[in-house]
Symmetry: C2
Subunit: 538 residues, 2 copies
């Protein structure tokens, strides 16, 4: 039991009626584009993100907090690429440049790229469209983006063409409540986290995160000498009172480092627990972040894997959202949408909703932070692949548009709902409830399974870690691979006293998910010396 929290924690209530204030609509975006005219953005063009945001929506908003006092020397001293800045001289009319060392696009040995993509909700029989990018579509006037531009050098923030779409999408979904928010592209959230650490952390620092968290985050931080302090969780994710307690009781000497400044969290469909923070939970945690002046790294690859409610094995499914507005309103609000101070860097990814291999993501944060990020990108990762950017531009901007992408996200939502329902039904059918328990996840791709290891015949002769390892190998002997919960503990010294396994329902065919759960049940019954299920029995 945690000691009483130092802050007032609101009780958690139903969040389903919350909507983002003044939400932008797809129609607004279309109007703004029409009013602002054709996008002119040639080779390595610097993008004016402000022009992609709705001005009227921002007039009443204040500016973000500045973070100069928290930036590392490395980040503060980044001046960006001087040669890229020499591009400012190119604006003079009639100028012939022998300046930039860019190869001529006539030597790009790719004349055209085509992408065959699905159509959703079409009236016709046609289920696919083929989208084609040529080398000189911009000169020909047939597209705002072409291969001569996409395959050329670019800016750290990515192409203006795709960035415009990302900014619009971000405003549509999150409408950040301060004026000077911005977006800049990344080569994925793992790289974004690496770069954020270099922006804000030095050797000896600590980051706070969930007591079970994404190991790659811990492993990214560790070589930089940055450690992860665990915050307790319940089924609704990180506990605000535990976060407050960790910070209030921080012992700089015992920890060998100052009180943490960065909070790293996966608020939705968290990896590995599958937990999703409710709106109230987010508000509570944000309040703790304000109290201790934390900066929040919101890692949200699973945000659009929020699912329909689970109704149980024999109840009818909940129909899909009836409109884009209903879909957007069904999403739990992001930290970004609550971020009145500009203390959130939201990391968005296409990995779970388009494909991981694009290696294109983006961050949303204050202009100051986005600028620190993009000048770093200019001198490290540069822009994400132009081939990937072209694929996403053709699909998201030219073919689907914002509405079509929401249709796709609704489709993915229903697919994941079906997959989650399959694993839950298999759990109910095959797992011995005496020793294993679980909750239906509302988002993400993970089913978190708690095993009552103290009922194991070897308890207390063997430790949790020993029994967990035996169960892992027992699963393997029965032909199924589940991840050990202990692999996800950032702070090996914190003993949760509980044992978990992580199962994903994202990838395997439905029949194999059922079979894998059946095998897990058989392995558990064997290990716990329980009566085996009869073949095919429930």
């Amino acid at each position: 039991m945690a000691p009483p929290s130092a802050i007032e924690v609101l009780p958690e209530t139903d969040t389903s009626t919350f909507t983002i204030p003044d939400r932008l609509t797809i129609q607004h975006i279309a109007k703004r584009r029409a009013a602002s005219g054709k996008l002119i953005a040639g080779v390595a063009a610097a993008a004016d993100v402000g022009a992609f945001k709705s001005r009227t929506h921002h007039l009443h908003k204040h500016l973000a907090k500045r973070w100069d006092h928290r930036l590392t020397d490395e980040s503060k001293n980044r001046g960006g690429s001087s040669l890229k800045e020499a591009a400012k001289f190119l604006k003079q009319g009639g100028l012939i440049s022998l300046g930039g060392g860019l190869p001529s696009s006539e030597y790009f040995p790719v004349e055209e790229i085509s992408f065959k993509v699905p159509l959703l909700n079409t009236a016709t029989e046609e289920r696919h469209a083929t989208l084609t990018a040529g080398k000189h579509d911009m000169i020909r006037g047939t597209s705002d983006f072409d291969l001569a531009t996409a395959l050329q050098y670019g800016q750290g923030h990515g192409s203006a063409q795709l960035l415009r779409w990302l900014v619009e999408h971000t405003e549509l979904v999150h409408n950040p409540p301060y004026a000077d928010w911005s977006c800049t592209m990344t080569v994925g959230n793992t790289s974004a986290f690496d770069m954020a650490l270099r922006m804000f952390s030095k050797r000896g620092d600590w980051v706070v995160s969930e007591q079970y968290t994404f190991p790659a985050a811990v492993e990214t931080a560790a070589p930089m000498g940055v450690r992860v302090a665990a915050v307790r969780m319940d089924e609704g994710g990180m506990l605000a009172e535990s976060l407050d307690e960790v910070l209030c009781t921080w012992d700089e000497r015992a920890r060998g480092g100052p009180r943490p400044f960065l909070l790293y969290t996966v608020p939705t469909g968290q990896n590995p627990t599958g937990s999703t923070q409710s709106l109230q939970r987010r508000q509570q945690i944000y309040a703790v972040a304000q109290k201790h002046d934390l900066y929040i790294l919101e890692d949200e690859p699973y945000y659009f894997l929020q699912m329909q409610p689970y109704t149980g094995p024999n109840a009818p499914d909940v129909p899909p959202p009836a409109s884009h507005q209903e879909f957007l309103s069904s999403l739990v609000p992001s930290y970004l949408s609550l971020d009145v101070d500009g203390r959130v860097m939201r990391m968005d990814s296409f990995s779970k909703v388009i494909a991981p291999g694009t290696r294109v993501g983006w961050i949303t944060a204050s202009e100051q932070i986005c600028k620190r990020y993009s000048v770093h990108a200019d001198l490290s990762t540069q822009n994400p692949s132009g081939v990937s950017q072209m694929m996403l531009f053709k699909l998201l901007d030219e073919q689907w548009g914002h509405g079509g992408y929401l249709d796709w996200l609704i489709h993915i939502r229903m697919e994941y709902t079906a997959r989650r329902n399959v694993i839950l039904e298999a759990c109910e059918q095959y797992l011995p409830r005496e020793v294993v328990s679980w909750k239906p996840p509302v988002a993400g791709m993970f089913q978190w399974l708690r095993v009552e290891w103290t009922k194991h015949p070897d308890y207390p002769r063997k430790t949790l870690v020993e029994i967990e390892d035996e169960l892992f190998h027992a699963n393997m002997r029965h032909g199924t691979l589940l991840m050990k919960g202990s692999w996800f503990c950032p702070d090996k010294e914190v003993d949760t006293g509980k044992m978990f396994f992580r199962a994903t329902y994202a990838a395997a065919p439905l029949e194999q998910i059922r079979e894998a759960v059946r095998r897990f049940g058989a392995a558990l019954r064997e290990a716990f010396e329980m009566v085996a299920l009869a073949d095919g029995a429930a």
Copy 2:
């Protein structure tokens, strides 16, 4: 004048007859592939680089030097991604994995990608081919690589499919003289340099480089607290005796940092000077590196922009290389090909020979260094874009093959030769030799132009930097942009006493290159108060 060198420096002689010993041939690669059977490499497969190298070629070679004593804490402490390592359990037959959090490829909204690419040296009328990748070509047996794999998560070293080709190409061109060399992909040389610095450098360190060098390299190092010490150059690039002198006379106290360990160099078509180090020069510099135990970062984006000899304005052009072997033998050997110790990380890029927007490059170094690199990539940049990798695989492996790629490189060589000849002829026609001089570059995309600023009417009343700035703006007024030489000085305190401008012949149409040089000549004549050329006069 430099003091006498502490090492014996060999005189420079003709290098045209040097060939890489025991050079692998394209026929060998084809045989090895046939013998090793089909490449089986599924989702995020770990690649066995050793299997892509010729065993017989390596039997007599020794192992690379180890660099444990030089690796940073960050690099030494990188364990890689534990979740990716859990993939080892997947080898068990019949296993159903609910382990890895990978999305199902059925939710990748791209069914097919096609690339229209040029064909070279074809017997038929057809000048282009369209290469198509489908989602499940590997299961269907129609390709070694497909979209279900390329668009999925990958390994830090990139896909086995493309990596195989890169390893073969590297052996074909460089045949590194130690046994345990390896390759791993990068998201480009800028990122590779950033990651190399984090592997080997700490705040306060110095890197040695050319006295005129790539500003982005200096700007990548500066925020990390790493400074660049200038080594003098002549028309053949960095001077070995100057490098030795800098290291022998290093004053740790005056410099505020230890003697440099990293040598960063662009040996071929150097940016900005266009200089190319001869084989002898490279041997001399390598000997200095051995003497002082330096590690060499060989940045080689322009390696394949080596050109045919310049024959002068009215002499017949030199015909293209008659065979692949003749082409390969015409290339000045790389540091990698001389690297008996394993003290070179070669950074290769497709930016100048395919397209910058691919954001795919690779390094070649010892296994130890490649492993340090790829475990960092696993937790930052991850793999390069799968869409880019697929484009390169289809083009380079499935369509062109190694021979076809060499044909393409010969084509590029002849194109750059023609461009270089145009700028040289324009220089001869339009520039006042009294105040400007130049040498024909043998590689790269830059013409380096020396201006005799001491002949300027304002000398000595104005400084070099002032006169350089006036000339820059005079050029702009005449409608041409050239880069200031001083922008490329890493060490602002070293006064070379010389003034240069950099012009590139890579990008502008040929007629505009001529016109830009004419304008530069007019600007110089005006600034130096010389008689203007009559219209159209030579």
